[in-house]
């Protein structure tokens, strides 16, 4: 088991207006992982990050990073944490190189031109090093923010919606860069509401809503636990009743008897194998069909299910 790099216990944040943005969050982040915090707008993702990074003052709870209590030993903890904020806020009139050098110094490290060159090159910003930030495109500005966050070589990096508003191609580039960081041993916590992004990038996923963590698990085991395969089989002739050999499968017959719906499996291929067996059983039973439409439920379906379940509970 890898050691926890960040431990959050009972974290609560009530904003001065009375909004409870975080409601007793417990979370442990392991060294070297990519953790995706997934949740709709207003779920509390940004507030959670802001509480860890020192931008908001928690109302209750404790945060420990690298074994340092953030309430008391924040200097040591913050020196090892990097933050890429959700908003594109940069010093517009500063040049890229100077902005990144400033970040390094602010976090207490000696100037190191070679290191900054390396960071800028890895983010394809080297050619722009002497440009003022306001001259750059949105995607480049976001990369400048990443470069600033990487300038002090953090062990823990927060990326708040790193690909929001970034076009598809740049998003892929971003994923590659995040992957490269993980290779170097940086622990990464990213927030997103693109489910495919969490599915693609993360080792573990935490689902947050209304300031509460609804579930945290390995991405694979979430898929396994809740992932299902769905097959819609359009029958050539309507059926009144299912023969026993077919009823043994997890299937339902539509009311008009024209459509057979299979729902089962574990998100690991078991479902499609079972659908193959089902089709053979249909033929063996002399039932003809016109089309089969098979799809695996994604993290998205799981997410939507989970969230609506909670809404029903709350209602």
């Amino acid at each position: 088991m890898s050691e926890p790099i960040l431990q959050i216990e009972g974290l609560t944040k009530v904003y001065s207006g009375g909004t409870k943005a975080l409601d007793g969050v417990d979370l442990e982040i392991r060294k070297g992982e990519i953790f995706a915090l997934l949740g709709p707008n207003g779920a509390g993702k940004t507030t959670l990050i802001a509480a860890v990074c020192g931008l908001v003052r928690p109302t209750g709870g404790t945060i420990t990073a690298f074994g340092h209590d953030l309430a008391t030993d924040w200097r040591r903890a913050r020196a090892r944490i990097g933050l890429v904020p959700q908003e594109l806020s940069t010093d517009m009139f500063e040049t890229v190189f100077r902005a990144v050098s400033y970040s390094r110094g602010l976090f207490g490290l000696a100037p190191d031109k070679a290191r900054i060159e390396e960071v800028l090159r890895s983010l394809s910003l080297w050619e722009k090093k002497d440009s003022q930030i306001r001259e750059l495109s949105g995607g480049m500005k976001r990369r400048v923010l990443i470069a600033k966050a990487l300038a002090h070589e953090p062990d823990l990096l927060f990326l708040d919606e790193p690909t929001a508003g970034v076009d598809v191609e740049l998003r892929k580039g971003m994923w590659e860069q995040i992957g490269a960081l993980r290779q170097r041993g940086t622990t990464i916590i990213l927030t997103t509401h693109y489910i495919e992004e969490a599915e693609l990038m993360a080792d573990r996923v935490g689902i947050i809503r209304g300031g509460r963590i609804l579930m945290v698990d390995d991405k694979d085991s979430i898929m396994q636990r809740m992932g299902t395969t769905e097959a819609l089989i359009a029958l050539a002739e309507p059926l009144n009743e299912l023969p026993e050999s077919i009823a043994a499968f997890p299937v339902t017959l539509s009311e008009d008897g024209c459509e057979l719906c299979y729902r089962g499996g574990n998100g690991q291929g078991e479902g499609s194998a079972e659908v193959a067996a089902l089709t053979k059983a249909l033929i063996a039973a002399g039932i003809d069909y016109r089309t089969i439409d098979v799809r695996d439920s994604s993290l998205e379906d799981i997410f939507v299910d989970l969230v609506s379940e909670h809404e029903e509970e709350a209602a």
Binding site: Y15, V56, R57, R75, R78, L83, S89, D91, M92, L106
Partner: protein, 256 residues
């Protein structure tokens, strides 16, 4: 041990100076122009008809006051902008998430303000030599006092920049309080020469003590003892430091 992040403070200091360099043309031209205008109008035109005050030529007499006028205004504005803009644009996230505390932040900001104050003072004094002859009696005391005053008012500007939640508010204190008080603070006359009650009232204006203090370092003459001026300036400095320490401790307007 990381109990003090010296590099962090140094980075803030450098950046604040850089920020001033970006608008160097304006930061230099504007005080040079203003001061020249004052000298033309008050020093040469009006000053020609004025008696020397306490043995100092009128043109030379007004130099410390004019210097104070520009220093207080520029320092307060510069420093309040320096902290307000990052809050306004959101770039303050970096400062708040960095391993720097109130000490490093203030050293960076205030150190840069004091440096800028000295440069500004040198420019103004240089401009003044074009219009009047003067000699500074206590040059080192003058440098020290200028640094002390700019440090204090950069702290004051810092507080304003944190307090303000709009550009209007940012400008209102300098406009409504600082400028009038500096004008009435004995820049253009000796407070002792004011008739009766006005002289007493004038001493209710704290800026009068600053002008008097600076004038002492220039010419050895003052309306009040230099120690009173010094005491008041240090008191103001300590008050501002206290307020800022409180702001950082509670996170007021900085950390929700």
């Amino acid at each position: 041990m990381i109990s003090f992040n010296a590099r962090g403070a140094w980075s803030i200091y450098q950046r604040e100076l850089m920020r001033a360099m970006r608008t160097a043309f304006q930061s230099i031209l504007s005080p040079v122009l203003t001061t020249s205008l004052y000298f033309v109008v008050f020093g040469s035109v009006i000053g020609g008809r004025m008696e020397p005050i306490d043995g100092v030529d009128y043109g030379a007499f007004i130099i410390p006051g004019l210097l104070m006028l520009t220093l207080l205004g520029e320092t307060t504005n510069n420093s309040s902008f320096g902290i307000y803009m990052p809050r306004f644009t959101g770039t303050i996230y970096e400062l708040l998430s960095a391993p720097v505390g109130v000490t490093e932040t203030l050293l960076g900001f205030v150190g840069a303000a004091a440096t800028k104050g000295l440069i500004l003072a040198a420019i103004i004094l240089g401009t003044a030599t074009l219009f009047v002859d003067y000699t500074i009696v206590h040059p080192f005391a003058a440098i020290g006092y200028i640094m002390l005053v700019t440090a204090s008012f950069s702290l004051f500007g810092f507080i304003l920049g944190i307090w303000a939640d709009s550009f209007e508010k940012l400008g209102i204190i300098p406009l409504l309080i600082l400028t009038p008080l500096t004008f009435l603070g004995g820049t253009f006359y000796s407070i002792d020469d004011l008739p009766g009650i006005w002289s007493t009232l004038a001493f209710a204006n704290p800026i009068a003590f600053l002008v008097s203090g600076l004038r002492w370092t220039f010419y050895g003459i003052s309306d009040v003892s230099i120690w009173v001026s010094l005491g008041l300036t240090f008191g103001f400095l300590a008050f501002c430091v206290g307020v800022i320490a409180y702001i950082f401790k509670t996170g007021w307007r900085l950390r929700e």
